[in-house]
Symmetry: C2
Subunit: 355 residues, 2 copies
DNA sequence: GAGGGTCATGTCAGCGCTATCATGGCGAAA
DNA sequence: TTTCGCCATGATAGCGCTGACATGACCCTC
């Protein structure tokens, strides 16, 4: 008896023998049941069940030069934003043979390039990457990938292949315009990490204020450090130390906005009367905060599932007509930017008593 | 010329030809350089570089019946807790040939079992799974996996193989004891999703209160819904409607605690004077909140990297002596449970003015 | 009824790599 | 010098599966 290296698991040949057919017929019955007569199909299914046969992915990949792996590269695990995209992707792939190969670029284009090279060496069925700011070589790798590629979470003019996202510049512009309409005039910007998408939101902010003749670069407070709630507090404190008359802040993301709110509470600065606060992404907590926080709802889950949908269509040879999908975004206006008619800073009572 | 199915990529035979050796020597040079003479090794390395040769993972896996894939199963992508564990795992695997195959069980033991079966069909090098509450069949699959298995984030008596985590019961007990020591007497419990780890924290809460003769099941408020900040608000509101004299809450996790804080702010209930709040996991925002929130620091990143370390040691045949590692946890006492000496509910001024 | 088309199934030869055993050279021990 | 064993390297035979082509049965058309 031949030695088995695969731990005694049955092979396609075992199934074939048991079903009384050749192994290629079993192979066909598993991949494309239509091409096998109902009679044999049934025999084969039975044999598969009896032997608990599971195809060997590696052998399949080697023989067919194709895999059922979809590579996904995101810049952060910790950022809830990508967790939602990921959920969309995984949910879109449930009940399919596809598997996800997940990479974390840590917001580094170099690391992204490295991951891309690694992933491509496995000839994935498709690739989903966050952002449109690959390195030149990264773009070249993607272009030569030989599989569908979907860039997600951003929008640009020249997709490598397909694209699903929204305009960060437009969303930054929309939030800032909203703050202006709410009556705020000395609007600051809090930004962390300053990745390309953040930069584009900042551009939108800048443009909206410039159009209103109210742009003042001194109100922009950023840091390369990665975003956090504490950082939101620190950044707002810095900003107020430099520009005490600032009456609102557009926070680059929701963590910073929450931190800014906490800082206002600590400094006894009334929100929204003396300070308007807007965040970005509209994480679940924004609606629950007190006061509730204005933000921009970004369709993260939808972007993930849509990307999968497009990728699968492309794999199946039905490339969608629309290669670039703009999912849009939605301003969620809440208490934190509902400025009372009379604009005048108001002192507040103490919020709580702790010694 | 032979047709190439792999897209024209060079194979090990190409490298061998270029280096003037046989392909098995190239194979050895790549896997175990020590076994090849320095002379040939150098020639081979050069050929690899010139051809940009990248080994085919599938062919390697098929021929050797081994892979460089480490399967990881977590119950949620959205929960920040697992994001940190994941970071620990990925960081521990950086600069190694290992790759992660990530599965999301969505807190369903059935789904976990399914994932386990799928992953095992690929003969992973190791498996890291969250929790110790597998189904019976899941446990059997793990036991028969034929690879190192690390259960993480919890602690139990009979590891399938290895285990890294801490006692949820003990941590629940510790938090509750702290609330008692701080002077709170009518302590509630807010819990969402109620997965097994949450249940054990609840047990700890129950035990601590029972020991103090203060246990009242009516103060336990739970829901099978998944955790969120809004839910924290809802649960606290429910609890206070039923048991208005509740003077503190142990929240099953930090999202709920934050929601509870917001609810107190909305209801003008002073924290920590009239209501103590403690969370669980000590996410970054807890220290930044206003008032800052007491929580239990859980070493999530460390658990991830430690699990990888143990798995790699086991793969290399050096199974660690300690199969079960208790990482412990640390109570982080902050403003939200620092009750003033005089215990008496205090009214507060309005926090903010929004019309 | 010959020719041609379609369909279900089979044969065969790899995919790119590694396990296994074989080989030859060389130094140490006898 | 002879013998042995060790080491570096090579030849060979698959790993489990699928692509490409072959085969034969059957049906339709003129």
């Amino acid at each position: 008896m031949r030695k088995r290296r695969n731990g005694g698991r049955p092979t396609i040949a075992d199934v074939a023998q048991r079903a009384g057919v050749s192994s290629i017929t079993v192979s066909r019955a598993l991949r494309d049941p239509e091409r096998v007569s109902p009679q044999l199909r049934q025999q084969i299914e039975e044999a598969v069940r009896e032997l608990e046969y599971v195809p060997d992915q590696h052998a399949r990949a080697l023989a067919s030069a194709r895999t059922d792996v979809i590579g996904v590269i995101i810049p952060s695990f910790t950022n809830n934003v990508f967790a939602d995209v990921l959920r969309g992707i995984y949910d879109g792939l449930a009940q399919t043979p596809y598997q996800v190969q997940l990479g974390n670029s840590r917001y580094s284009p170099i690391e992204e390039e490295r991951l891309l090279a690694t992933f491509l060496s496995q000839r994935p069925a498709a690739l989903i990457v966050a952002g449109i700011d690959q390195t030149e070589r990264g773009r070249a790798l993607l272009a030569a990938a030989g599989c569908p590629v979907v860039q997600v979470m951003d929008l640009g003019d020249d997709p490598v292949d397909m694209m699903v996202g929204f305009s960060h510049r437009a969303s930054g512009h929309a939030v800032t315009s909203h703050l202006l309409e709410a009556g705020y005039r000395r609007i600051g910007f809090l930004g962390a990490r300053m990745d390309p998408r953040t930069q584009r939101r900042l551009e939108g902010y800048r443009a909206a204020l410039a159009e209103a003749g109210l742009y003042d670069p001194a109100r922009i407070t950023t840091t390369p450090a990665s975003s956090s709630v504490s950082l939101g507090r620190d950044l707002l404190r810095d900003l107020l130390a430099r520009m005490p008359d600032t009456d609102a802040v557009f926070c680059n993301n929701d963590d910073l906005a929450l931190g800014a709110l906490f800082e206002c509470q600590r400094a006894l600065l009334a929100v929204p009367a003396s300070m308007g606060i807007a965040g970005f992404n509209d994480l679940e907590m924004m609606a629950a905060a007190c006061p509730s926080l204005t933000s921009v709802r970004t369709p993260r889950y939808e972007i993930g599932s849509r990307a999968v949908q497009m990728a699968r269509a492309a794999i199946a040879g039905r490339r969608p007509a629309e290669r670039v999908v703009d999912t849009g975004f939605a301003l969620q206006i809440r208490e934190s930017t509902k400025r009372p008619e009379t604009v005048r800073p108001q002192p507040m009572g103490a919020l709580y008593n702790n010694a």
